[in-house]
Subunit: 311 residues, 4 copies
């Protein structure tokens, strides 16, 4: 098929631009257009359970509200996230925020109580407020639940129900009944707060119960699709869940700047997952090597335009 | 400044999306928004000579028409390109094209006469046609010019004048009087064809004359801006040109997936160029680590929308 | 200081080569030499607790025995690893192995029961044997321990004690009393096996107890050093542990191909950790962008030669 | 074949370590070991013309002497280099040097007359000396040669003959009759100096003559091998040379941190070159994604040890 030259019109919509990229069809632009196609397919098929994996500092970069939006639109059924994205989402839900344009070297920032995440910044004060509020929330949770071992998923649901910020994806997930899994919860400030709480209060976390819950969802799904933003454990966790059912995903989109040659799963092409049976042999999938903060808003904007039209 | 969460509206224009990215302002999305700002500034200031550097297989990926468009809009004053982009642009101008969706491993492709560029393909036939037509064009060029040594820039102008495809950037450049420089012309199929021609016909290429021409442009410019798509010699060539004037660029945008740690110029951050005086100390510049096929169409679409409105 | 040209002698030892790299002192080679220096410093100071973070498919690539070796030499005090590295180490300890040189595309491999990890391969049979043996080990563990909630660290110790392969790092850690932490244990085949076991047998995993154990180690350490191979949650987990003590690491070496611009922690430069107080402001640290399978054996060989001589 | 665990012995030679990497045989370590094998094969076969491509700031990083060494050992028959590596080699040959450990931001460095190349530095004074000395050398070259058009290759030979520093690869090449090609000579400080000279003195550069010379070498070779350090135009130039003969390389080794997905030639896997006929279908080749400053000294040290033993 001929590669069509990309044309830039005036006042182009994001979807128009993505269509031009699809008509060229090659390199990363062609892959982005294909990612939109696959995303639209999996989201518009009611039989497909859509799993979203979140790794990297996506919330500090301003993407948290977009995830909340996708949840409220009904596009996402299950989330697996790093503890950091959850923590930073809750920090914003508590009224704190991330900043930009801060100057100074890292040792200087330390003295001023400012923590750096690439070119985003968050103050020590935000973490102090986080501690106050999250400890209170832990207290509010039914003590029997806490004592007997609560899954991370249920704990996050309890937290989400107590948040007020509509742009929080943790709240949106609780509102919409979308479970959030975080197998490495203790690897986050939220996890450290849970440990702190447990020093003086009854709290057990039952991570095997989380496995139970996510595997059940997988077994009950007719079809399944995965969107991996960044790699990390969310990617593996989503993939292993469908592995255990003996089926494998029908759709998958991966967006990351991680590369294959280190051999780690984060940068592994999705085709590798076919050898494991994590993806079906004929699954519709695309790997896109791109920064999530650029590629995912484009994908979301183009897909939304298509999905709304289809309605 | 607070990082604003990115919001995705319905039927968003590319410019609206870029504005959301700019309001978040961090990570690669924030840099893309800043790149649009700087591009608009340099292009809308009549005192600024805008240099565009082209490296990587941009024409096979379908971006050639976009460069032609930018030239015709008057956004670009000087181009420095790899020989490959020029060759592939002329191939398309001769009516041949690049393909996608071809199957088969590389040894098989060889047998079928198909040459691979990542996931774009071009046939041996295209090169045969290229040879016929370009040899004819060489013949048509005034023999005195050829005999005494012609600069690459003038040679490309002679070629461009003889092309008919409006979407060819080599033709657009000739039409609009935009010089194209290619210091490594012999490192391309076009260069090999020039050599072949020179075996039986008078042809001398005078690369020092090219330096003369580009340096004159630099000296005559009041201000200057650079857009680097990919790294390679086009980046260095543009930077060294302003170095020699003792001034340095006022504006610069760099889009590439090359990284700093190999120490090569392709991935070097633009701040490094300040130490050399290639950029002014107070130059307005941004490095964006992104694939050109995604980032540049967005930049072009957003910038065009702003530039048209401003008029 | 002058950059010395690298000279290659005949029959050079690895240490000699690293010294040449150190005398040039720049680019990645210079950083590798500095990584050796810092590693030697942290390992030879008896007051320093050395934390080793393992992410990426290091065991399938043949590095597992090297970690066992470092543990037995007394160079490492605490390990934080992905579940995958632990699982694959145990697979090898059970007499199964990883293969190379396998041909066939990923869908074909699936049919043949072969799972791909870049260019390493492991058969379904290895996982079947893993299941048999690990289920037996779970059974062997004292039922009281299992019932009341066992930390991952203690569970891995129980497993390690029951392994026989001297080259297993899980066994070496148990032998030498080096704790292995894995906050995302459920995100691995080992975790899935634990869940399977828990369906019919008493088993609770107490991840908050793991936090307790690792934080205690951090509090009891006079000084601390970290070696991050790959990023992932092991990097964050090690860093957050010292964060909570309010001290921060004295030494740190990071080897990864992950880059900063995605904003994720995996590729973040160590200087970023200074702003958080995870590293002391004056910590001796180096970021090395390199593949672990090349850089770490060099580092280990050079360091070992120096450490043995020093004795 | 089983992946052997890498073992670190005491006082290991570089060759021993590379053999361990080869016995594991996977990931980047396995590729490095294979690169050594292929290099040894091509260098030890007297029928093979070995082409070495140099891109990136290899000389500033301290590798220049290593190239000189390889030339004097008879391991390399043809060099294609960026103008920058040639310029910086000559700067060192003139007694100037590159520095490290310099502090200060880029704007500050500008004021102090220091130019930055990642973490290597070179002073304005070095370029002033370079100008004086190179202008004198230009003058010394026979005026008839200069007037009628000299190839870059011959010009570099004239320069090399006039250098005194044994560690200069430009000198070593002249001493040993190894031609150096640089199609983009005008894209370098050396090229700018040539232009400056040509303003007041007779000097024409005949780049088509360079094509003639390199193509003749290719035609006369029985077999051919290529070593690409970095990508850039040297990679393309070497590949296109064998393309024109209709044969293609028998051996090829590529070491770079550039990746395939931008579609540019620098990061393209060598298999892509098979589709073009630049590599023979059955060529023995390896792509290694690694930093040249680490991987090439290892390769050179290991290969040298093997080649000396074989004699």
């Amino acid at each position: 098929m001929k590669i069509k030259r990309i044309e830039i019109g005036e006042q182009m919509s994001v979807l128009d631009l993505v269509r031009e990229m699809g008509a060229s069809g090659v390199f990363c632009a062609g892959r982005l257009a294909k990612a939109v196609d696959i995303f639209v397919q999996m989201v518009s098929d009611p039989d497909v359970k859509v799993f979203l994996g979140l790794a990297g500092a996506l919330v500090p970069a301003g993407l948290g509200g977009l995830f909340a939006d996708l949840i409220r639109e009904g596009f996402v059924d299950v989330i697996v996230s790093t503890g950091a994205n959850i923590t930073h989402d809750i920090i914003e839900a508590f009224g704190e925020h991330h900043e930009r344009g801060v100057k100074g070297d890292d040792s200087e920032l330390r003295k001023r109580g400012i923590n750096r995440i690439y070119d985003a910044y968050v103050s020590d004060k935000a973490f102090i407020k986080f501690e106050e509020r999250i400890q209170q929330i832990f207290k509010d949770i039914n003590v029997e639940k806490r004592k007997n071992g609560i899954s991370v998923c249920d704990l996050l649901n309890e937290i989400g129900k107590r948040l007020k910020d509509k742009n929080s994806f943790v709240k949106a997930a609780a509102d919409e009944g979308v479970p959030i899994f975080c197998p490495a919860i203790t690897d986050s400030i939220l996890g450290l707060q849970a440990w702190l709480f447990s020093q003086l209060n009854p709290l057990k976390i039952d991570v095997l119960e989380d496995l139970h819950q996510i595997i059940n969802i997988a077994y009950e799904s007719k079809k399944s699709g995965a969107i991996f933003l960044g790699g990390g454990f969310p990617k593996n966790h989503i993939l292993q869940t469908m592995l255990i059912t003996g089926r494998g995903f029908d759709y998958a989109v991966q967006i990351t700047l991680d590369r294959p040659e280190s051999g780690g799963l984060s940068g592994a092409p999705l085709s590798e997952a076919r050898s494991w049976g994590k993806l079906k042999s004929d699954a519709n999938s695309i790997d896109l090597i791109a920064d999530v903060t650029i590629a995912f808003p484009i994908l979301a904007a183009a897909a939304k335009q298509r999905l709304k039209k289809d309605v």
